[in-house]
Symmetry: C2
Subunit: 246 residues, 2 copies
């Protein structure tokens, strides 16, 4: 068996999320169905770097799978893409050793969150950014984001439904990219809890419109209670941008 | 009655085209349904600058309608957008005199055609650009486009189903905007025949990949027969960008 590491992009609009489930169209489901067809009806399990929710996009999700096939490496993306629906695309594929694991070998992840700030809604970004037509003070958001950098217990910034016990994570970077009516926020860290980027983003936006002070952020962290943070920003603005391995 | 000139944007992916028809969701149909709701069940007819086909987008389509309502002008977009589905958006609205006509008063139109040239397909542009993963010689395309500028009989560059008798049109500008994996071609002229931009684009792309010489273009024009031009480029790359009035 050969192990393949595979970088994929998908438009999350048409999926009930990454992870396979009994009902609804999923990214993992489509990947496994495509691999099954390629492998003459043999089941091939796909392991992702992590899940993404319904509506969340990926530019650089990483998965691995094992295959008995030794297809030339530059043929693999073509073979896979011709078997996949057009809202998923294999961007890159490489052979890796069997100790590579798409989830356990992750050292860092990058998410981006896109906000469309135009006053009037834009039909082209409705599934690809969060329409937030308010005056935003980016400086205040930057200040607030500084309190999030570093190693913290992010219990206040994850869904109350989070089952993981250890909620300590390290955020290495939060940066802001502005162009015209689009604000893109980059989050880089060693791991993100359930809904964490969306709650961080929702809270930063509340700072941006003056509903909260940047100085509230360390207090929210300290409370270790989801109710203290801001709203969960909607899924369509979120992109799993890159997964970093050793 | 007051006449309103209204600039609208729409994502063409979910429409069977602009013009109302017995079956299928149309832009005109949605606009008239929204106006009817706003006008307490009164029928309000909408006149567009022209039709766009299924899958074709608009950034600046212009329509006019007459209304007995004297809603403050800055309230109109809000009222209309709250009644419209989220793949159509009213960008701007102004009151005009009753001699303004969205179709007959047009002096010039601008269309843009987007091509995605990345080798591997991009799920995010599948409905918003034509995936054309070949080496393109832009210089050759520029050369070919020069033969199209000016006043010509464009019979060879419109659908064989075109019913209009007079196929003489003037193209004032064809320009190329390149960024990364995207090539955007701008077409400005006094009018465009049925499928004209898509056939022009398909022909230019055939020049771009060396299937045709730029010098063939004047010969194609002269033949006045659709069969001599290139393929019709697909609808999802086309945008009605701007409509110019006096």
């Amino acid at each position: 068996m050969l192990r393949y590491k595979c970088t994929i992009a998908y438009d999350g609009s048409g999926f009930s999320g990454y992870q396979i489930q009994p009902k609804g169209r999923t990214v993992q489901g489509e990947l496994e169905a495509a691999l099954k067809r390629i492998h003459k009806d043999e089941d091939i399990h796909v392991t992702g770097s992590g899940r993404t929710d319904a509506g969340v996009h990926a530019v650089g999700q990483v998965i691995h799978f094992d295959s008995p096939y030794n297809i030339p490496i530059d043929r693999w993306p073509i073979v896979l893409n011709s078997a996949l629906p057009d809202d998923i695309s294999v961007q890159h594929i490489e052979e890796v050793t069997s100790d590579f694991h798409a989830r356990y070998s992750v050292i860092q992840k990058e998410y981006r969150y896109k906000v469309y700030t135009g006053k009037i809604r834009d039909p082209f970004s409705r599934n690809y950014a969060y329409h937030f037509p308010y005056e935003i003070n980016e400086d205040q958001m930057r200040q607030a984001s500084q309190y999030l950098i570093g190693t913290h217990d992010f219990t206040s910034f994850c869904s109350a439904k989070t089952e993981v016990i250890d909620r300590v994570r390290t955020i290495n970077e939060i940066s802001f990219i502005r162009s015209n009516h689009e604000l893109e926020v980059r989050f880089v860290g060693n791991g993100f809890l359930y809904n964490m980027v969306r709650i961080l983003m929702g809270t930063l936006l509340e700072v941006g419109i003056g509903k909260r002070n940047p100085e509230e952020v360390p207090i929210i962290l300290e409370k270790k209670n989801r109710v203290n943070a801001g709203k969960t920003a909607p899924s369509q603005g979120l992109y799993l941008w890159k997964v970093y391995y050793e």
